[in-house]
Subunit: 331 residues, 2 copies
């Protein structure tokens, strides 16, 4: 029998990553390109198809075949129609039939899920979840994504196309305006964008004129990584932004522990590389904001798969969708 | 075969209610006494035993027998030991083995659950839940309780003794101090106590001197019902307190819909009788604070069983616990 491979794709606000993955979860080959969503959804879809074609060709070189493709996309998803319904961080994707188009172009079954949900599937398969039955997953990137595992299964709610959207839980009704249009979402405190916006506002406010952070802001290319590096150098504004991130995450996770009666969370995504800068404020905030549990009972783990979590999870999702006989869009 | 009855008991911050219930959910006889928790947990436990003895005697008159007793108690519960671990609204109950003591005195199996969880079991059995699979239950009383049903089953989380504690989710980290010791819990905005405290503070602040509400406050016997009646009479302070309640409930329910990917909630408890005063602000707040769903998709229903929901749910819990062969405490 031919060796079976799967393609996992992680379509983020900044990068689009794709990988050829075997059934054991080995990444055979991985690629990364800019999402460049400003050029439009169709253009992004075309580049995604190119990436996938390359991986299909690679699978043939290895005397195997790609059985199916899994896409993780930020936003609310209509899996049946292979369509993104609503994506605060990739607005041109709204209503775009990304999976259906890809399937037409590649002639392979394509399954789509929310990017934070596939992050969770990755961590469950090969990552930090281990024997945990009930846990919250959080991805810190351009935005903040989330997922929920209950009884060791990805929770899909009422099948409305979204679940685990922790980034759009409101923690301060008078807080900053979010990409989604509401005010004070977790995302406005705990995302990569919250770091860069926070730094810019602080500089515009005049409090940090003359600092290296102010210089970086004036170049208009400030990234979350810049804010991280300035915090490591001891810039107090940058440090405070990570403290705010930890405070906001602790408050939100504490609220969910209180409501769900659970006590485990896994945090991943690129911005979680700054773990040491936010984990202590996060733990303090958890202790301050969850009256139902002792601090020591609450377990917050970093992603074990790092950058590869969503990629592997998307491949896993493609694999599971074939096993469960899910219909790919339009079939 | 002898007719089987169950006793359901609802131990609230203000009242203790008990009822003899048959397998079809008919209430054969119901009783209500003040909880008077200020006299201590043991004293409250003794009065609970008296109430139960009367209902056992009644069951014998009816040529039947009581198979088991279900207790709904506000707080975090150690079901295995029949003990209340932590009860913000009944502090003397902390660590008191209420179920174990009652079982010793009555010689019948006694099962204990959180009061809002048994409210939910009541609404699921005979109330507003109908065919709903996934929903949030909320009880508005002295405090605010909650429960969660997933796949038509009461969600118990990791079995830590609590779940659905919506009243202690924090919605305003700088808000008023809660009975639990934290700041800005939903309960500080949406409970009977939030109404009376809010009215008192407004009067102390001098803004309402001369009003009937100010008069009532000065008598020190102000109840949530007083605030309700003043709101109905058009008192703007009282009306604002109910608007704040609706706002806070909408924000919290919206956050949970966003995270759980669900869209149904049922609201009960004595204070929910003021439905018309808070439901419009609640719906507006839901629409403002949940970006994942259309307003019309979010269904908020009033309890159908009213005062009897927790009582019937506690009886149902006693019945289900016997069927599932749960161990009563200490057996």
């Amino acid at each position: 029998m031919q060796k079976q491979f799967y393609i996992g794709a992680d379509i983020g606000g900044t990068h689009m990553r794709t990988a050829l993955v075997d059934r054991q979860g080995n990444i055979i080959e991985a690629q990364k390109v800019a999402t460049d969503i400003s050029l439009g959804a169709q253009q992004a879809g075309r580049r995604l198809a190119e990436q996938c074609r390359r991986l299909v060709a690679r699978s043939i070189e290895l005397s195997g075949r790609v059985a199916s493709i899994g896409l993780g996309v930020a936003g609310k998803i209509d899996a049946g129609k292979g369509r993104v319904i609503f994506s605060p961080n990739l607005p041109p994707m709204n209503n775009y039939p990304l999976a259906a188009e890809l399937q037409d172009q590649i002639q392979l079954p394509v399954f789509m899920e929310n990017d934070a949900n596939v992050f969770g599937l990755g961590e469950q398969w090969l990552g930090a979840a281990g024997a945990m039955q009930n846990w919250i997953g959080i991805t810190l990137g351009t935005g903040v994504g989330g997922c929920l595992f209950l009884g060791n299964r990805l929770w899909n709610g009422d099948g409305l196309g979204f679940s685990g959207e922790i980034g759009h839980m409101i923690i301060d009704a008078n807080g900053p305006v979010c990409a989604c249009g509401m005010r004070g979402c977790l995302e406005t405190h705990a995302s990569g964008r919250a770091l860069t916006e926070g730094a810019r506002q602080s500089v515009t406010g005049g409090t940090r004129a003359g600092s290296r952070l102010a210089e970086l802001c004036s170049t208009r290319t400030l990234t979350a990584k810049d804010v991280y590096l300035e915090a490591v150098r001891g810039d107090s504004t940058a440090i405070k932004l990570f403290e705010r991130m930890g405070w906001a995450l602790g408050l939100t996770i504490g609220n969910l522990f209180t409501f769900l009666g659970i006590r485990h969370a896994i945090i991943g995504g690129g911005v979680s590389d700054a773990w040491d800068l936010f984990i202590e404020p996060l733990r303090k905030s958890l202790a301050d904001h969850c009256c139902m549990l002792q601090e020591s009972a609450m377990i917050i783990l970093p992603s074990r798969l790092g950058d590869n979590a969503a990629l592997l999870g998307a491949a896993r999702f493609a694999m599971e969708s074939m096993v469960r006989g899910k219909r790919a869009p339009g079939n």
